[in-house]
Symmetry: C2
Subunit: 151 residues, 2 copies
Amino acid sequence: MDMKLKQQASAITELTFDLLRCCKAKEKMFAKDHGLKVAEFRCLRIVEAGKSYSVQELATSMHLSPSRLTRIIDGLFAEKLVDRVQSIEDRRFAKISLTNKGQTLVGKLKEEYADLHGEMLKDISVEDRDKIYNGISLMQGLVSTWLVRNA
Amino acid sequence: MDMKLKQQASAITELTFDLLRCCKAKEKMFAKDHGLKVAEFRCLRIVEAGKSYSVQELATSMHLSPSRLTRIIDGLFAEKLVDRVQSIEDRRFAKISLTNKGQTLVGKLKEEYADLHGEMLKDISVEDRDKIYNGISLMQGLVSTWLVRNA
DNA sequence: ACATTTTCTTTGCTAAAGGCAAAAATAGTG
DNA sequence: CACTATTTTTGCCTTTAGCAAAGAAAATGT
């Protein structure tokens, strides 16, 4: 079959693999520096101040099981970063939201995580940054739709 | 500071994050379909037929600790996919190499994993594939050098 | 020659990440 | 009110991963 395709595919596979490993290390470092577990950091990244979330919402948006989420929230709750209250309308639901302490931390986290990436990207041109964006965006789309079709 | 940079940085952060998650799921599915643990699959991907490797070599090239590698190799050894013999020149070293069974499997694995990516990439243009390659390559370089500087 | 140090691997232990299945609690419905 | 469905939690298990100490072998100093 298409030789060029095969070549490109395997090169991209390799690169993606390396990128993955590096990003994982990067996340781990960042989380550790802020006294968080990686899973906690990932969870905090998606909760917005003022909003409240069910366990399920968080689980689906993080692509994890509800039980896993319960444990992650346990940790954040123990650190007084999130509140967990029973919904009044439907008491099966939990309503997870940031405490003041949590809001402060998340604000700092987002700021510093963006800075970290800004630091990485600052020495290259706007065009190259766009290339990165476009390339990763395309790839993300492909992998994502592939997953949906093959899950 | 540079508003454009910040915007691009945070968009790229988000995308990379999603890509990472999807690729992880992809690897997991693929490994499972072939009766392997993800770590085992990752290890097999880097050993070439006919060559032999020390535990340390594998550990550094996978960016894992030697002890972790010992365990991964234990698994592969139990499945009779790799041989583990003491080096004659320096008996401290282990020499890890693929068995016949391992070679057959790795061959199939590489073939099918490339096909999987070929499948994902086949419907887009050669130019778009190049865009993906270039974008991810740039990003990988940045994250990688950042890691070296900040580790 | 032998004691010490260094190097490579393994083992024991621990933590974190994650899922499955059953239980608990609540809501909705015949 | 009995039954079913939904949401979360709990118990238990697996996988991934590292650290520190032990073991084994080589290199080196005296």
